[in-house]
Amino acid sequence: MKGMSVIVKQISRLMYPSILVLGVYIILHGHLTPGGGFAGGVLIAGAFTLLVLAYGADEVTTARGKWRATLGESIGIFLFWFIAVLGIVQGGYFFLNMVNHGEPLQLFSAGIIPLCNIAIGIEVSAALFAIFITMSVLKLGDKV
């Protein structure tokens, strides 16, 4: 896939850090403000997609990116299952909110909910980026 013009490249280079920061903010504040792991993860995937669309991608970077995306997706879903199973180990049932709840309405509060948000964020961002690469960048015969 070829890249786009210089204007698009410059604008997307200026834009993608703020999109990434917004995505991380939405994930980390998922238990306080609207949003959460899903919305923030899609934002992060959107930042990477913007870069790929603006700058283009050749075979090597595509293969590497797809490998990393599928790896990140597996790590995210594994973390989510791990947190869920940790509840059984700690106190007897699945998805037990075993971490101390802390003071309400603070950033570090609500037990496992922020941890689950982070896991879902990793999983969703990597999954959507993998779908994008697979559906729109790879060509027939790419060895990936």
Binding site: M1, I26, G30, H31, L32, T33, P34, G35, G36, F38, A39, V42, L43, A45, G46, T49, L53, K66, T70, E73, S74, G76, I77, F80, W81, A84, F94, F95, N97, H101, G102, P104, L105, S109, A110, G111, I112, I113, C116, N117, I120, E123, V124, A127, L128, A130, I131, F132, T134, M135, S136, V137, L138, L140, G141, K143, V144
Partner: protein, 177 residues
Amino acid sequence: MVTALILLIVLMILGAIAALESKDLLSGIISLGIIGFALTVIFLILQAPDLAIVQIIVETMTLVILIAAVMKTTKADTVETFGKHSIFLGLVGLVFVFVFIWTAVKAFQQMPGFGSMPLRMASEYVNNGLALTGAGNLVAAVILDFRAYDTLGEATVLFTSVVGITAVLRKLGRNRV
């Protein structure tokens, strides 16, 4: 509020019809975007910012993926043929439309009014959610604490769909290349 909702729903129906009837796949996808963005505005009017954020981001991302896929492959729609079977299919479709509309009318008559909260589970969540989970966002408290099984299934569905897409769209077997 009701007038704005009706206008937006009419706009969504028009967008759906345009997406179905357009010969160019690219304009079809853009008309599909009308539905999603109008749904975002509806969620905002109905005071559901969580859903509105997810809807607008996912809609944009889906449109980008679909447009990139169409630009890569083809813009031409498939040609439909008409015959005896299309009359039968149309009749079956009409029957299903009437069945669904009848069921929807019967179901909506039993729903509680907008803003009222007579459900026992919902009032439990709203009253005790902050004390039980410590999360200020009640939606996060519901989807990640009370109903975390649902979210786990949802994440697993996404994982499985990505595995399926990468397996199907690889197009060539790994050993043959």
